[in-house]
């Protein structure tokens, strides 16, 4: 026999347990800051249901274009409406549109991407080309068409933004899934008969979850911006419901008189977009078992 046979037969030499497992660090600074900002937006939206300093739609001709301070903390707009109250109520629209638009995009895009990744040529190609067509179609144009057909509303805006983001999720899912499907653990899974939907759900999706979460947070940020743009153009939520986008739009006419009018909704949009981006990054790290420390 060769020298190989001299090794101890039960061979537990390398099996000494790696010591106690360190407590997992699920929270990281990025996640905390991101979740904090997002939490702030959520809280704002919730508070607006219970309390606002003034009625956000109340017009007061004697109190127009006030500077911050005094009875109106952040001042008033050209109709004398209270800015704080409008910001609070506007957070609802922002959140709602973002959540629904991303949900539509992911709910349609991810299954299509998985379908395209399975590699059946007669399935994959049509799906991908259809996604390309939608991809080439600007979201704003889609929203204008939908608004022309069904009237401008929050729902129209959400659907337009959602549909415009379907190809983003579809392509990302396909690319990620194709890579995972090539891996050894999928080969092993096939060797014990895993296939179809279960293979996708148990093996592929968890391994592209990080990609999708980051994309969701980026898409959420985009949706907030797109909603603002649509409201700004007049194709989103109709007045008088306050939205951050329309506040920004209306502020531009009075920019010389009261520049602070544009700062507040702009800051609100910027902070919530930043919050969602940071939260996405943080979640990606927190959900990866490999990054939770050995």
């Amino acid at each position: 026999m060769t020298s190989v046979a001299d090794a101890p037969p039960d061979a537990t030499a390398d099996v000494v347990a790696a010591g106690p497992v360190k407590p997992r660090r699920r929270w990281n600074l990025t996640l905390v800051i991101g979740a904090g900002l997002v939490g702030l937006v959520v809280l704002t939206a919730l508070v607006s249901f219970l309390w606002t300093p003034y009625d956000p739609t109340r017009v007061d001709p004697s109190q127009t274009l006030l500077s911050p301070g005094g009875d109106h903390w952040l001042g008033t707009d050209h109709f004398g409406r209270d800015i704080v109250s409008q910001l609070l109520v506007g957070a609802r629209t922002t959140l709602f549109v973002g959540v629904v638009a991303v949900a539509i995009a992911a709910a349609v895009g991810v299954p299509l991407g998985l379908l395209a990744a399975t590699g059946h040529r007669w399935l994959s190609e049509p799906v991908m080309r259809a996604l390309d067509i939608v991809f080439a179609f600007p979201a704003i144009l889609l929203a204008i068409i939908l608004a022309a057909g069904f009237g401008a509303s929050t729902l129209t805006g959400m659907i337009a933004i959602g549909v415009a983001n379907v190809p983003v999720f579809g392509r990302l899912t396909r690319a990620g899934a194709m890579q995972v499907l090539q891996s050894d653990f999928v080969l092993a899974a096939r060797s014990y008969g895993r296939r179809g939907v279960v293979l996708m759900v148990r093996y592929v999706l968890p391994n592209i979850a990080a990609l999708l979460i980051v994309q969701a947070s980026v898409s959420f940020a985009h949706a907030v911006l797109a909603e603002a743009a649509l409201s700004y153009l007049g194709y989103g939520t109709p007045p008088p419901t306050p939205t951050w986008g329309r506040m920004l739009q209306e502020a531009q006419n009075y920019f010389v008189v009261q520049p602070m009018l544009a700062v507040w909704p702009g800051l609100a949009i910027a902070l919530s977009v930043l919050g969602f981006n940071l939260m996405g990054d943080g979640l990606r790290d927190a959900l990866d078992p490999r990054l939770r420390g050995r």
Binding site: T2, V4, D14, V15, A18, V21, S183, L187, S191
Partner: protein, 274 residues
């Protein structure tokens, strides 16, 4: 041995198409397997050796119906397994399991060890207490039972390969196909994993198919070997007789390439030790 072979390949050809270079020139076909016939009998340890690119991994995939031959057929227990729809391959999926080269990539990084090992039983809908079976398997491969709540990255390479072996055993297979099962491991751990494989094969009366480029590994484990070169089997036979008296020139070259202590070096070694 006149009984039906457990696994058999008959005249298997597998062609791949290289990616096209330009719009006008289509990809050229590459023959990974060129008319390969091989028989593996129950209870033996069968080795497939050859250099990289010789088609040995492709052959093992076709014997497991994870890849389809361009022409020719593979059989398991006399039943055809090539070109058969997946839903009618349940018997094969249960009986034949694999251990791959790199245990880091062959274990789903998002699953805990308990789930990884239980997966074959769940996928094949086997009855019984899966948790108890996982604990038993952890014991069989020499890993602490408490470790099942951990993720693959929390183990060393050798330990991961033990997890992969436990998973391969989970469904109670008749055959285990090892595709370079120790090539990615430290030399110090190799012997342990090889011994584990032989011990378990004996304990569970398994048929082993070992794919390797490493002649010493194959010699140590296998009763019979097939030597592959450029998609063909150039020589098949008992391990010892092939090592003692290689017939085919390729086998002779392959064997002479194995570093051994011989001639001048061996003389010096002997002199210094006496």
């Amino acid at each position: 041995m006149t009984t039906t072979p457990l696994l058999e390949a008959v005249d298997v050809v597998r062609e791949y198409r290289s990616p096209r270079r330009s719009l006008r020139t289509p990809g050229q076909p590459i023959r990974a397997l060129d008319g390969v016939s091989v028989q593996v009998h129950e209870g033996e340890a069968f080795g497939i050796v050859g250099e990289s690119g010789s088609g040995k991994s492709t052959l093992s995939r076709i014997l497991m119906a994870l890849d389809q031959p361009t022409s020719g057929t593979a059989f398991y227990q006399g039943q055809r397994i090539s070109g058969v729809p997946e839903r009618r391959l349940g018997f094969l999926r249960r009986d034949v399991q694999m251990v791959l080269q790199d245990p880091m990539s062959s274990l789903n990084p998002r699953m805990r060890v308990a789930d990884i090992i239980a997966e074959p039983m769940r996928a094949l809908r086997l009855p019984g207490d899966h948790r108890a079976r996982v604990a038993e398997l952890m014991h069989s491969v020499g890993l602490p039972e408490e470790a099942v709540t951990r993720y693959p990255h929390q183990f060393s390479g050798g330990q991961r390969q033990r997890i992969a072996i436990a998973r391969a055993l989970a469904a109670g297979p008749k055959v285990i196909v090892g595709d370079e099962p120790v090539s990615a491991l430290d030399v110090s751990v190799r012997a342990q994993i090889l011994n584990l494989l032989t011990d378990l094969a004996e304990q569970f009366k398994l048929t082993l198919i070992l794919v390797s480029h490493d002649l010493s590994v194959v010699r140590y484990l296998c009763d019979r070997i097939a030597v592959m070169n450029q998609g063909r089997i150039v020589e098949t036979g008992d391990t010892e007789s092939i090592y003692a008296d290689p017939r085919h020139p390729y086998t002779q070259r392959l064997l002479s390439a194995v570093p051994t202590l011989s001639g001048d070096l061996l003389d010096r070694f002997n002199r210094s030790s006496t």
